[in-house]
Subunit: 213 residues, 2 copies
């Protein structure tokens, strides 16, 4: 029998900075693992790993992510504001090391594509590079940003312009089997996880037990 | 060799509503699986499943989630505004069916705790119920809300007041091993996944290959 411990706000404030960041980053649950690709107006590509990409809405089709605009992520932010476009690329189990490496602080002149060994590719629709090695890629148009006043982070929202993926992972009801292309999940700031499906459950109705579908 | 297919914005707009929702919900990657607990000013508890909880910052310790305030989630929203508190509770592989069932449209008078078979528990700090069966529980104070203008969803930010978890899952560097307590991940709107750690990688620096830690 393990004991539950309670960590108070006061204790959190007293933790050493890196310990606190590691702890607090771990407790939101498993996170999406994506590479965001952008290009500057003078045609320098940028690629950065994000674990905060979430679904925002289906109609219109929207996705969003949270960023710290004054950190290593500022190139991503500046490029999105310059071009109005960005790409979201799933990280799979074959490229998670390269993806992780994009979080190193490279100078503006150096592309993370070159430095980390990933290949940029383009479509006619989106003014931003996709990651060739990624299996599920989404091209987005920047729509809005909302500043989180509590800490100055920015929630960026984009509208999906196109989705590129293998045709055999979309099931008849629209569900995309991202486990089949071995998309990984992130825990904390540096832990990468594969998944194993436990169950898909039927639409929940009061008084009816959910069934496996 | 599978073929890549490209789905355009025009095609997405033409999809049947439920197909589109299922597709777009699947493509952000794996999502966190949490139950958010609240209580109304007239002491009615509420519990709702969310897959949009993300890390917002470590100092101050902040978490956030996106909600649709005019849907089944409105009880959560109203309660947070009334009491200023909410709890975030990890969904593990033993309670994912009960957690899924909280998404059914219960009347305001009915608590999802009772209807879905989960037990509320309380601390002196937080005016909101925790889920007893959850292994990692976080008590938060409401800080701010930001409306996403593009579709009227609301991003809610709370400050962590306390964290309750088994003491043997916190590693020496602060990393919380949420896989050990079998926290699940969500894909789409109804698919639940267990995880298997592939690797933790060292802090990324330019020119240095990330190492397993």
């Amino acid at each position: 029998m393990v004991d539950n411990m309670k960590i108070t706000k006061k204790e959190i404030q007293k933790f050493e900075k890196l310990y606190r960041a590691t702890l607090i980053n771990s407790i939101s649950g498993f996170k999406s693992a994506n590479l965001i690709g952008t290009i500057s107006s003078d045609v320098k590509t940028n690629l950065a790993i994000f674990s905060s990409v979430i679904h925002v809405g289906a109609n219109p089709p929207l996705m969003g992510f949270l960023m710290r605009p004054v950190s290593v992520e500022r190139h991503t932010y500046n490029n999105i504001k310059e071009t109005g476009h960005f790409t979201i690329n799933h990280i799979n189990n074959e490229i998670f090391k390269q993806a992780h490496q994009t979080s190193a602080s490279y100078e503006k002149g150096i592309s993370e594509f070159d430095a980390c060994g990933l290949i940029p590719e383009y479509t006619d629709t989106i003014k931003a590079p996709y990651v060739k090695e990624s299996k599920v890629k989404i091209g987005l148009k920047f729509l809005e940003e909302q500043e989180i006043k509590s800490n100055g982070t920015i929630f960026i929202v984009g509208e999906i312009q196109e989705i590129i993926l293998p045709d055999d992972i979309i099931l008849a009801d629209g569900f995309v089997d991202i486990e089949k292309v071995r998309t990984v999940a992130i825990s904390g700031v540096d832990s990468y996880h594969e998944t194993r499906k436990v169950s898909r459950l039927s639409y929940a109705k009061p008084g009816v037990e959910p069934k496996e579908i």
